[in-house]
Amino acid sequence: MNVNAPRRVQLFVTCLIDTLRPEAGMAVVRVLEALDIAVEFPNAQTCCGQPAFNGGAWDDARAMGRHTLDVLSKSDAPIVVPSGSCGAMLTHHYPELFAGDAKYGPLAENIAARTYEFSQFLVEVLGVTALNARLDERIAYHPSCHLLRGMNIVNPPRALLANVRDAELVELDGAEECCGFGGLFAIKMDAISSAMMQRKLDAIQAAQVQTLVSCDVSCLLHLSGGLHRRGSQVKTKHLAEILDPQQA
């Protein structure tokens, strides 16, 4: 482990994990604490505003962005986000949204520079790839688009999963293709979204895995909903849930 790594972080848990998958958030906390990282949770945090930004409602997105920047700038600790999608919003889109804003422009740059996606923080900041995790299952990793191409985080999740004892990690056919979620796209363009999802679900079922792992619960919300509708038994987990020391 990198000796110069920060010893405390702020967790930006994301609205989806807060409401729909709190167990993923708790797993993030346990993984970090097991590595002696003190976790702060600024409890005024809500949503980063990405749905409004992607939907074209930039004034609404800025309102949520200002709130989030205010909340996160109260501490100087690095920020850990267990999502590539929200991570891309904080690291790439806030600086664009607030470019030219005398107060929030510099704040957005400051926050962007100390925000890390969960797997990125473990591997690139802490220098950790082997955690004491074990899972006797056949699993596949779904790289979310915003993590893979938005934040250019390719290897960290795979490195962490490769070190999970007893787990057999298999590659999905067309692994790096979008699952069709796309936020509001899933509602506004539901027919295209569903067609893309069916392709991904076919690949998941063909791989005969027991668990699908991702770093974004947004994709998993969509894929687990599709799997459940199909009557599939495949489970979906956030990476942190696989690495959770409580599970091992």
Partner: protein
């Protein structure tokens, strides 16, 4: 306004496309082939990233002083004996071509593939003047026989299976029914050979105009481009004003990325470099060369928020990589330019108001940006156009209201918490009969549950679990210190 706005909605076209199994066979076959070829070509290209970066710089540089390069190009074309025309819009381009045709008493035209001529609906304009127009690119010939328009910027008949083409050739050119592409190609070749020899005018597109030499470069794989530009007595080349490169060295860079990205070739089978009409001592070539530069909204785009889309070199790689294009094909877009680049370019050229659906048709997955040979940030421009669509009042009222309310709530933590509590309760009531899975959400969210279940919110939010855990730890600590 030149690109006709289709009279059915985007959603209707998408639904029709999604229900078309033959279209999906065609798309799956073509897309996996093109993507595979591109991947192999780039994997074998040692200088890939450096060359792509250089190609991007060349495009950025050229557009940053486009006015100067256009003047230089015009002067050098004229010096080589060619004639240059500027067309402000589609109607102007069609008028200029019509005038040239009349001056030369043109009865028959052969065309090499040109998306600019699709943009101006040039064939319709010429046919209205009684001129016979024959497309000579095999894909475009197929599409013309079928009475359709290209569904892909480099492969016009991308949406058709070979079986469909066999049927079409059987009906239109009396070829015995076959699904053998070689037999069909030979039949088309025989028909087209006659057309080349009898045409009075050849019309081609242009991949790049070279400012320093006044040359135009046209790449192709069938030889039809070479015949179109050399056999008839008049050659008319049509191009967008943005399609210039400063010099031949820059052209070499662009050609390296174009062929690899488009078809996975190191170089196209034919790379035509045309400088002026036939000289006195030359045996082949047209007596006159006319180059028409089309603006049609481009100079306005150049000064706006999505100017970067003009870097596009029309390789089609973003279409071949796009998961949305794969599901719906090119025609569903309803625009001349389809796929990711078309979704940005069409609203930029024609106005966001009537094309507001196109930038929405993306998950912003970033595949287009990843494959683009000149690294155009298409997802960013889709976002910009979504914001423009909202400003133009094109967002559904329920979504606008919903996002407003969401933003209002999310900036007030206590209210947010209350609202999340309400949503949790509601979702748990809805999900109660099916072990926490909601089978049918109320409108407008019911679009979600057409094909997907939705999980009820967690019984205890992260926030609540965190606070309970902290209270427990505090109590433990208090207990410890007490003992």
């Amino acid at each position: 306004m030149t690109i006709p706005v289709p009279n059915v909605t985007f959603h209707e076209r998408v639904d029709a496309a999604l229900r078309d199994p033959i279209l999906h066979t065609a798309l799956d076959r073509s897309m996996s082939r093109f993507s595979e070829l591109r991947r192999a070509a780039l994997a074998a290209f040692a200088d890939e990233s450096a060359t792509r970066a250089r190609a991007r710089l060349i495009r950025a540089h050229t557009l940053s002083r486009l006015d100067a390069y256009l003047e230089q190009f015009e002067a050098n074309v004229q010096r080589a004996g060619g004639q240059v025309h500027f067309a402000a819009d589609a109607a102007a381009l069609n008028r200029i071509v019509g005038e040239i045709a009349r001056a030369h008493r043109v009865k028959a035209v052969v065309k090499g593939k040109s998306m600019v001529s699709e943009e101006t609906a040039l064939n319709d304009a010429l046919e209205a003047e009684g001129i016979r127009v024959v497309e000579t690119d095999l894909g475009e010939y197929i599409v013309q026989l079928a009475g359709e328009h290209p569904s892909h910027i480099i492969a016009p008949a991308f949406h058709k299976t070979k079986e469909q083409v066999g049927q079409l050739f059987h009906e239109k050119i009396n070829l015995p029914l076959t699904d053998d592409p070689a037999v069909m190609t030979a039949a088309a070749r025989a028909k087209l050979r006659w057309e080349f020899l009898n045409a009075d005018m050849g019309i081609s597109g242009v991949n790049f105009g070279v400012a320093e030499t006044g040359s135009i470069c046209l790449v192709e794989n069938e030889g039809n481009g070479r015949l179109t530009t050399t056999v008839p007595r008049v050659h008319v080349a049509v191009m967008g004003i943005e399609r210039l490169v400063p010099n031949l060295d820059d052209l070499a860079v662009m050609l390296q990325v174009l062929a690899r990205s488009a078809t996975g070739q190191k170089l196209s089978v034919y790379t035509n470099l045309i400088t002026g009409p036939r000289k006195n001592d030359e045996g082949d070539g047209p007596a006159e060369l006319h180059i028409i530069l089309l603006d049609n909204g481009r100079s306005r785009v150049l000064g706006g928020e999505v100017a970067e889309i003009l870097y596009c070199i029309r390789c089609g790689a973003c279409l071949n990589a796009c998961p949305v294009y794969r599901e719906i094909g090119g025609h569903a877009y309803g625009s001349v330019y389809s796929g990711p680049v078309g979704a940005v370019l069409t609203p930029a050229l024609e106005g966001i108001a009537q094309w507001s659906a196109l930038p929405q048709a993306s998950t912003l997955c970033g595949m287009c940006k990843q494959v683009c040979p000149v690294q155009i940030d298409i997802p960013r421009m889709l976002l910009v156009e979504r914001a423009q669509a909202t400003h133009a009042g094109k967002m559904a009222w329920w979504l606008r209201l919903g996002l407003h309310l969401y933003a209002f709530t999310a900036t007030k933590p206590a209210l947010y918490r209350l609202a999340a509590g309400g949503a949790r309760l509601g979702s748990r009531v809805l999900g109660a009969p099916q072990q926490g899975w909601i089978k049918k959400l109320p409108p407008p969210l019911n679009a979600w549950t057409k094909t997907r279940d939705f999980p009820a919110f967690a019984q205890k939010s992260f926030r609540a679990q965190w606070e309970a855990r902290r209270a427990r730890k505090d109590a433990e600590r208090a207990g410890d210190s007490h003992a």
